[in-house]
Symmetry: C2
Subunit: 70 residues, 2 copies
DNA sequence: AAGTATAGTAACATATATATTACATAATTC
DNA sequence: GAATTATGTAATATATATGTTACTATACTT
């Protein structure tokens, strides 16, 4: 679960703790998401987007890994 | 959790079962997501986007409910 | 060197996303 | 009217997202 949460957070000058407060989760949850250690829910993704003023695509989009399509 | 999964799914002419197969979940999970009865994980949102050829913003973006910002 | 702020991480608990199985309904087709 | 297909939904089980608490390390300040 690669994402751009850390970049977006730093751009709006928030600490993990501040972002956590804004979106209503704990600092640990933000840390784990930034590290890509897991797979947040849509609701939390949206809250993070609102907090950093970006869209889902800007923060969470990942291109489909090739393969699959034939 | 309002979203446009059903519209997007019908546009690419898939049944709930077919979409479920493509993204690797059960039909019930797709049904519940379409009904807005819950809050899928980011990974599943991305799989659905790949399957219907749309972006996260197109299928899952929800404007921030007013309020909050002062 | 002690105090504070930020961030990484681990153990355990709880809430909930998802699976499994099953039943129900409506629309089609034989 | 029986068989099939698509969908909604309910009960129970499992996996995992998230909370809670706590320890660690680094950087900065005094």
């Amino acid at each position: 679960m690669k994402n751009k949460v850390k970049i977006a957070r730093v751009q709006v000058d928030l600490t993990q703790q501040q972002l956590a407060n804004k979106v209503g989760v704990t600092r640990q949850t933000i840390s784990l998401i930034e590290k890509g250690s897991y797979n947040p829910t849509l609701k939390l993704c949206l809250e993070i987007c609102y907090a950093v003023n970006k869209s889902l695509d800007e923060v969470f989009w990942i291109e489909k890994e090739s393969g699959g399509e034939q």
